[in-house]
Amino acid sequence: LSTAVARAAERIAAQAARRVILIAVLIGCSAPAAAQTIDELREMSIDDLAEVNVSSVSKSDEPIGAAPASIYLIGNEAIARSGATTLPEILRLAPNLSTYQRAPGSWVVTARGMNGNLAAQSYSNKLLVLVDGRTVYSPLFSGVYWDLPDVLPEDIDRIEVISGPGATLWGANAMNGVINIITKSAVQSAGAFASAQAGESQRTVGARFGGSIGDNLDYRVFARWIDEEAAWSAPGVRAQDGWRRLGGGFRVDWTPNDRDAVMLQGEAFSGTLGRGGPAEEDTEGRSVTLRWNHRPSTTSELQVQGFYDRVERDSRASGGGKFTADSYDLEFQHSFAAGRRHTVVWGSGVRRTSYRIDGTATFFFDPPIRDLFLAQAFVQDSFAITPKLSFTAGLKVEKDPYVKASLLPEARIAWRANATTLLWASASRAVRSPTPFDRDVEERAGFLSLSGDRQFRTEKLTAFELGLRMQPAPTLSFSLTGYYHQYEDLRSIELLPGPGLNLTWGNMLKGHSYGIEAWGDLRLTSWWKISAGLHLHEQKLSFAPGASGLLDQYQLGNDPSYRIKLHTSLNLAHNLTLDADFRAVGALPGTSVRAYREVGGRLAWTPVRGLTLTVSGANLLHEYHREYEGGDLIPRKVMAGVELRY
């Protein structure tokens, strides 16, 4: 009976949501449209111009990028208008990413599958994530603790999301994709900004001040606090896993002359994550990044960057362990034009991570202290065979911790059929190298044990892609990518000889995945845009001969076969914007997580200059829904907010 009631309620909610969207559409059509025509522009006074809200719709008609890869750009306005408050929520905007909220502050983000499996101790680990050039995936298991990185959404310039390998140019662990988060330069974030949002399930407060000293030095300082209430482990049962994070930092941009730019930024944070009981896990981190860009001429550029990053997680209070990791990274990159037809990029980098893990009797690392050393060098040449046809070849040598150097080649061909059509194809190789979690981990659970595999090798991927990007009309653009991934030496669970059930890792899984990533934007009017995204994914893994065959092919991920996104952005009036989004995600095979549909959105009103009032929501259709096996029931989120700018 209760499911019938729930279904009826869901139907009513869905109907109401449809009506709201329809009403919004009707209001949108009758709303005074923003200035569009040449004549209207001529009529406007200089005061009128200042009142037009250009955040929209307008800026998102991104030019057809020249890059022959599956790249999706999340721009600053798309972030602001989405109402998303945390990084993983913002990443939901990318149609070529899959995001799953497991619990407050705990997320799984993947490109092209392999979303992991908690029961098999398999954590999603095939993405490279960068914040202003600093890697934020954990060197201990190659995955990302999404409660650690954070930025003030207002200060994000753009996020480049590349699905597919990007190892040659981007760096280690760019196996299934790269997420490159780029914040605004200090020049672009001048002035004071403050925002606060509050709702039953989450509260955030953020502030930034940017200014300049002298002629060519700009700075900003910022701080942000996030408080996410515990979600639900079952209907009516709180999971005691709330998340709080306080972070702050600065960025300084110094441009002493036309050829040089120096950036220094630093950040520190501290947070707590509930662990299902009264005791909490404490997190702490700090980082400093220094970057120098030198442009001796218009056709060459040199970049040198170094960063230091420290991360600490301490769950001893709840019976867990503690780890600290200090990373030091130095890299350079040089690009130049060689003749009229060649553009060469080459570079090199080194990274050292020193970690210490204070484990428990049932979960520890042997040895508990280690230095991981990574070195890489790459060269890439883009060759314009004809003005329309270009070929890019790249090669990277990467010396990863634990293993010998890997060779990572990449070839891409791009044909610009006309000014608005780009057809491209690529073949590339990428690896995920062994981590302490693959090599040194030790777990004990009664008669069961798991030991890291001292012979664990790199996981290997050969990827083939074919893509089309088109802008058939000024108001319409789309991207279509097909991919085929061939995996070898993926991690499996093997049996150790001897009494009891003693497990270890192995490299005995292989297989392939294929799929389609598609997205497009249609600007219906200057004040109304709709976008859609689709990701279809199939994955077939099998055991190599001699494998134990323990657990099934889903141990590396229970990936849904489809994911659909729709988004509409409306400028209802010059100071009123409305956004609504819809997503449908397929069931996670081999789990109890069913397919779901959800909607969210944001209404923003700017009554006077410098003041914006917002109402935003996410997961509105259901009181709660599950996104990941073993994860919480994720509740509906409704928030009211205020933004101040000066």
Binding site: I46, L49, V54, K59, T255, L524, T606, R645
Partner: protein, 184 residues
């Protein structure tokens, strides 16, 4: 679920019809609203500025508004400026390459809309010349007499009065009043 699908189709059809109507009303300009607003600013600003008479070669010389790095803004300005006059002069919208400091000297207004390796050269090359420089923080340029500042989705302007004086440009009090003070 199938029956549900049937009831759903009506609003969807209506939405599509409305979309098509909206599409038909859309003017042919492909440029973004942001580009259109900035172009309109460039046109309007010149009526709030008085240049020294010596900058014009003769009474019929057009007012040259030069644009660097933003062909879209240039396209809109060209359309806006057609058959328009400011203080009795026609307007010439000129798109100049970002590394041509020499050309910048012949402009009355110079909009450096995007960060490029040589953008500062354009400002220094016209230093102390009566050129109304306009920069765009969102585009990564700054230090012009006029600066576009985007905040909360609106484009406002900042004015550096000292820089205007150094370039012998007279700004109307109305302009100074509505703009935010910038510069050091």
């Amino acid at each position: 679920l199938k029956a549900d699908g049937r009831t759903r189709s009506r609003p969807v059809r209506l939405a599509i019809a409305l979309a098509l109507i909206a599409l038909a009303q859309e003017p042919a300009t492909a440029e973004s609203l942001e580009a259109r607003i900035k172009a309109a600013y460039l046109l309007k600003l010149s009526s709030f500025v008085r240049w020294p008479a010596t900058v014009f070669t003769d009474a019929n010389a057009p007012l040259r508004i030069c644009i660097v790095g933003r062909s879209d803004v240039h396209a809109v300005l060209e359309a806006l400026a057609r058959n328009q006059q400011v203080a009795g002069r026609t307007i010439a919208a000129v798109h100049i390459p970002h590394d041509s400091a020499a050309q910048a000297q012949s402009c009355q207004a110079l909009f450096v809309g995007r960060n490029s390796p040589a953008w500062r050269d354009l400002l220094t090359a016209t230093k102390r010349s009566p050129v109304l420089t306009i920069t765009d923080r969102a585009g990564g340029t700054h230090g012009g007499v006029i600066e576009f500042i985007e905040s909360g989705g609106n484009i406002r302007i900042g004015v550096d009065r000292a820089e205007a004086r150094a370039r012998s440009l007279e700004l109307s009090s109305k302009l100074v009043q509505i703009a935010e003070p910038t510069g050091r």
